[in-house]
Symmetry: C2
Subunit: 165 residues, 2 copies
DNA sequence: ATATCTAACGTTATATCATAACAGTCAAGG
DNA sequence: CCTTGACTGTTATGATATAACGTTAGATAT
């Protein structure tokens, strides 16, 4: 668990290009306004950092970037901003990597599945309607009131498959 | 993240009763023999501890129990045993809780889904064929070679639903 | 305008989870 | 016997996360 985010450079995931990042950021702001959320400077900048990243970032990686830019230097600063983003559907926590990534589809109500490459640690957010439907059914059958779910798949992304072929 | 395992006592999940635990343990031993695994005393005892637990246990909780019984006292002792069990399908790691739980169906090839109660931290292993099928399809569509997956649902178990009704 | 309130921020300090690296032990096979 | 490799245990440290508290700043009501 030492190999977060930027570790492998440009490997697999079609990570958010700059243009896309701008669009997502705008969308996030619109949502924040609409829902009465306060997208403060730290929070906004944290989201930007995630959008600019090539992969998921650990909280301490985010913190270092924030600190360099004059925000607070201590862990709670990063954790609070990240938790805010996660709680409001603007980012996701990738537990397997102890890391965070910007949500690729902030507008839609969704519980996404993440495809985590064992070769390069890239993270792809996959649409998972079928998966969550199946999960909802399983929960229902167990009499369990489902709130939300974490779905993380480990395997090899296309590029790493080809590389090892 | 302070409230592991035994915290809530007898709450929700129909956790493994003693009889069931014996059966699972026997099954585990059979599997170990069949597959040439060494189910050593620490490993076996670790599995027993998980089977006896009312919920998922953190590594340090397991460690404390092992230490009391004359096994090693340092974290790697617990982590090694737990990782062995997880790698060989005898236990699961619940990442949301930073905890481990015995596998309820050690014989079958399965990628289970876990229903984690937000009220009492109980963990139920739900059969998830439909879920993993859907996930496999999503991975396939993304050109991702799926190896294994972690599926963790958060919500309220039946008992906690009734309690809060 | 200004008093008041609350959410957010930043800090110190500490808790919690996890692994690297190395030495000793022991059973299996040459 | 003695080597070999897997396992255990230790020390030491690293990595992740949160509790608690004082301060700041934006909103609200007067």
């Amino acid at each position: 668990m030492t190999n977060h985010g930027s570790a492998a450079g440009f490997c697999c995931a079609d990570h958010s290009g700059a243009a896309n990042a701008q669009a997502i950021l705008a969308q996030a702001e619109a949502q924040a306004r609409a829902r009465g959320l306060r997208l403060t400077p730290v929070r906004r900048r944290t989201l930007e950092i995630l959008l600019e990243a090539h992969g998921a970032l650990g909280a301490y990686e985010v913190l270092e970037l924030l600190a360099r830019e004059g925000f607070g230097t201590q862990p709670p600063v990063a954790y609070r901003a990240l938790n805010f983003l996660v709680e409001n559907g603007l980012a996701h926590r990738i537990r397997r990597l102890n890391a965070f990534t910007a949500c690729a589809h902030p507008s839609e109500e969704h519980s996404a599945a993440f495809l985590i490459c064992a070769g390069c640690d890239s993270v792809t957010e996959a649409p998972a309607r079928g998966v969550s439907d199946a999960l909802a059914a399983a929960a229902e059958a167990a009499g369990f009131a489902l709130e939300r779910a974490t779905i993380e798949a480990v395997g090899l992304c296309r590029i790493c498959q080809e590389a090892s072929a």
